[in-house]
Symmetry: C2
Subunit: 337 residues, 2 copies
DNA sequence: CTGAAAGCGCTAACAA
DNA sequence: TTGTTAGCGCTTTCAG
């Protein structure tokens, strides 16, 4: 346990009675090494507590397997309960692909210092557009997660928000609902737009009328949805079902309904989005949309890996969601009990 | 936007009409550089999209500011809603201290590959003991977060669990409660032990009797607490207040109470721990303990930074908590309404 | 204020 | 199967 100065490969070589090359070979699992030498090298490494200098290794070998993972410091849409899933996804993939992950928690304003990284993984690009532009400009391989960037020549892996909401509307329609309203997310985010678009498409596909007041513009937060829901539900021509673009807003709808004396799901069906903890813990367990957070992350890292290996064409993908049925929806033709 | 081969410092030097040394000086903000040269170098860098090779820089300069952040893949006690806070803390500190964070999401079994890292930050050591032992053995500077390791000669920054629960019991006592029970967390975790210890101490300090059935052994989960709460509350000599070692378990207590016809807080006061989203969204908004997740993380990184700079003595700290009053507790002398 | 030259610790031909 | 010998791209004395 003494404060040992750094051990270098030469010392290991000397201790094992071989050349540094052989030590290097052992280190890199080159098969053509005598079993005896290998054992002596390994022994010396252990005894001396030798740890190769990664920077020297990388410099000499000319490789750089480091990826910067950029996470916005003030995660808005990017709910904290999704972060662990995301980390699990990239973490697992990184291990498998032998990639190092450099963590960057950024406020989006400071310029990105991705010195050591050969590529960048953006976890939610909202507010980080400049950094993305810069990286693209520099020719650094990038992949954006959870956001589908139609125009930009950049790879991205997103959730099929449109399809998800279409499923939701289809589900409600099957339960007999025709008066279906929605509370949207931020319409400055592609996610918000896609979810609204999915709603409109699904309604039109079923010849269901989208009355003007059926589309309320929220921003994902409970606070934003509260008054909107109140207003929506207070009307005579109130909907029988509401699709919210987030679980938080869905909860707000349930609260508003409750205050107006409406029961969920007897008098009103509500669907959320996210499958957040709130969804299962809310007074009325929420029917909502589960997203493949972990898969998006893993897939993204794979694409980035391919980009690093020379692939040039950006790849854009969407992954499917799953409707999680709980207890906030109900068939219209049942007697309220 | 052509596929440009890597630009090296020599090319920048040539383009700017200076030596590589001068370019290096500009890169490293060495003040003794002619303003004209500096500008031309900067211009060349921009024009050529030059990005210095970090590995070469580090090798030549002999420094390594990389820290491995080790996060268990299957976070148990380490609830996902705390992860973002933790990341914020270490991320911010890393930026300030000019440290690179290498992310390692591990299952604890595979050996840690911290090649590039000069130090290690463990986020919750449960299940990673072997990795910690190994690192200590290697003489790699380590800091453990959220866990107070009494015996091991390793730095750690934890939450003052004992004090937190003492505060909780004090709070309940002030509300007039004398029959106070607790549902503990895993007693194989130091956190679980400390919270229980805090409860026992606080009770004894107030001459309050700790009846045998007042201490129920849970494991932080809702499922574990459910039957315990049921049993505890079904007795004739049931407590008037319950301190749970997690919000999940506190919610279980409320559910159990509800099933037994007991109202919270009228007939039973309940306190949780964590200040999780569940706490505020639960049917009865939960009075609970907020923890300085972000501060612990930031502080830990600072200590590690000091260790890297030569400090030898391990540092052990505890940070204070805050009781968040919501609506799950009540004075005993009020009429139930 | 600037440049020449000597490494940083390791890997990878190339020979042996 | 092994060792010799050049570098990898940058920083840093040291002399100008």
């Amino acid at each position: 346990m003494t404060a040992s100065r750094t051990v270098r490969i030469a010392e290991v070589a000397r201790a094992a009675g071989v050349s540094t090359t052989t030590v290097s070979r052992v280190l890199n699992n080159v098969p053509t090494v005598d079993e005896g030498s290998r054992r002596r090298v390994l022994a010396a490494i252990t005894r001396l507590h030798y740890r190769p200098n990664t920077n020297a290794q990388r410099l000499a070998a000319g490789r750089n397997n480091t990826i910067a993972l950029v996470i916005p410091r003030f995660a808005d849409m990017f709910r904290s309960f999704h972060v662990m899933e995301m980390l699990k996804g990239v973490g697992t993939a990184a291990e498998r692909l032998h990639l190092d992950l450099l963590l960057h928690v950024t406020d989006g304003r400071s310029l990105l210092n991705v010195g050591a990284a050969a590529g960048i993984l953006f976890a939610d690009i909202d507010g980080n557009e400049e950094q993305l532009d810069w990286a693209l400009q520099q020719g650094i391989p990038c992949v954006v997660m959870y956001q589908f960037l139609e125009e930009l020549p950049v790879s991205c892996v997103a959730v099929d928000n449109r399809g998800a909401v279409e499923d939701v509307v289809g589900y409600l329609a099957k339960l007999g609902h025709r008066e279906i309203a929605t509370i949207t997310g931020h319409l400055r985010t592609s996610i918000g737009i896609e979810r609204l678009d999915g709603y409109v498409r699904a309604m039109q596909a079923r010849q269901l009328e989208v009355k003007p007041h059926y589309v309320q513009h929220g921003d994902y937060t409970r606070a934003s949805a509260r008054p909107l829901a109140k207003e929506l539900l207070a009307r005579d021509d109130r909907p029988t079902a509401v699709v919210a673009a987030s679980d938080d807003m869905a909860v707000a709808v349930i609260e508003a309904a409750s205050e107006l004396g409406l029961r969920v799901p007897e008098d009103l069906s509500v669907v959320g989005f996210d499958d957040s903890p709130i969804a299962s813990f809310s007074k009325v367990p929420l029917t909502t949309v589960w997203q493949p957070m972990s898969d998006v992350a893993g897939r993204s890292l794979e694409i980035l890996h391919r980009l690093l290996s020379g692939a040039k064409r950006p790849v854009k993908q969407r992954l499917g969601t799953r409707l999680v049925e709980r207890q906030s929806c109900r068939q219209t033709w049942l007697d309220p009990s």
